[in-house]
Amino acid sequence: MARLETWTSKLRRTNAKSDFQPANVSPHRRKQRSFTIRLWVVRHARFFEWFYEKFANLFLFLHPFWKAVGYHRAEKPVTFVERQVKGLLFDCRMCGQCALSSTGMSCPMNCPKQLRNGPCGGVRANGNCEVEPDMPCVWVQAWSGASKMQTGTDKIMAVQKPVDQSLRETSSWLRVTAEAAQEKESVKS
């Protein structure tokens, strides 16, 4: 097969020659490390689904505590922890509206087209991404993760709303908790 033209090689060809040529070009912020952890998480999607459920319950259990402290005051430290933990595990981009449980534990914001309802039609025959040929397609991973999960294949069928860009860099853990608490209260009353 002919040599694949990648983004990097194309830019290199079209841009003016200079001594500095960046190694991996991408218009999106791209973490320069291998996808090992992210792929490992998807392979163990069932475990993470279970763990996440427990974790969400714990957060909800702590609702009175968050309320006492004040959600706005808790936000900064929680966001910090969330960014570190999810960044390590999922290469999280802090979109602030986590969809991991509907996307097979594969973060959709890592898709170069940021599709929330993937995969696009350009997936390569080897399952790699159209835009970044060295990265396994986020949505092929999402489907394989979803098929391992209990509710994954149902949840992946839900049409996700467009990303609310104003929620970037906020804690989705706290938001989900506050919403769940509100729902619980409204059911009670």
Partner: protein, 363 residues
Amino acid sequence: MNPVDTNPLDAGAPLDPLPGHSSRGRLERVLRRGEFAVTSELNPPDSADPNEVYERASIFEGWVDGINAVDASGANCHMSSVAICALLTRMGYAPILQIACRDKNRIAIQGDILGASAMGVQNILCLTGDGVQAGDQPGAKPVFDLDCMSLLETARSMRDDERFLSGRKITYPPNVFLGAAINPFAPPYDFRPMRLKKKIEAGAQFVQSQYCYDVPMFREYMKRVVDMGLNEQCFIMAGVGPLASAKTARWMRSNVPGVHIPDHIIKRLEGAEKQKAEGKRLCIEIMQEIKEIEGVSGVHVMAYRQEEFVAEIVHDSGVLKGRQPWKREPLADSAIVAERMEELVDEQKQIPAEMAENAASNT
């Protein structure tokens, strides 16, 4: 041609609304009548001359039920799809407006939907779009604010709920026939039919597929689609196209995102003496095979840079079964005008100064 498919007063105006139809266009009528529809793709000009658009559209006349106006396909810059559609509707063509999420955010897209509908566009095809790396300007900022699914949902709620994404009211909704694209030839293969289901749930009423060169694979896909009953909720059109040569086939396979061409096709082209003719024959054979597959409602002929062959391919494949799609009717007085033009060319030029001189010298 079915005479009810033209507006008797003005070819460019929308048709009368019919019950159960969401648009006032020809394509939806043809599909809903159960006829095998044919659509094609206009190669957008790199020019600001409207005549180039008209010229390129006129070769499809009488052979297709809809013309796709591509939205910078392959991330290459051309005349915008909204403008092409606006030009085409003036002449009475039935354009299919493609909207890709690559270049516009939700504010621009919703505005375009309203504007296009106001210009008489009846069909909109919602796409995610190729990445910017595929085109001639890889340094562009990829937008991808919506994706094809949320775009479909947005357009549907604008039409049915008469509301913008924000919930703000629209006074007159865009009555359009909504379409999407499918690619049965890309992994994850077992998820692809479910993805079609998701698109239908989001609002797709017809879909056009990526180039189909692997008929067995398409048949497999369609079997699952029919099992899920999706062909009853949505019209499925298979994408086909002639390959100019084995070399272009190879190039397409490795450079155009999402195109799958099996090796035996390329071998066959390589073995042929006249590759272009063989490519056409291959396309016709595929069309005839596809026509027989259960659940397929039409074909979408993408003959990039070979548009002049579309008529021939459609004719030879016999998919229209003798039906003739819409064609521009010549105006009643256009024959007289043409005749007079001929006369004017032949007539001797009358130059007043010379005539005066002649008259003066004759006396």
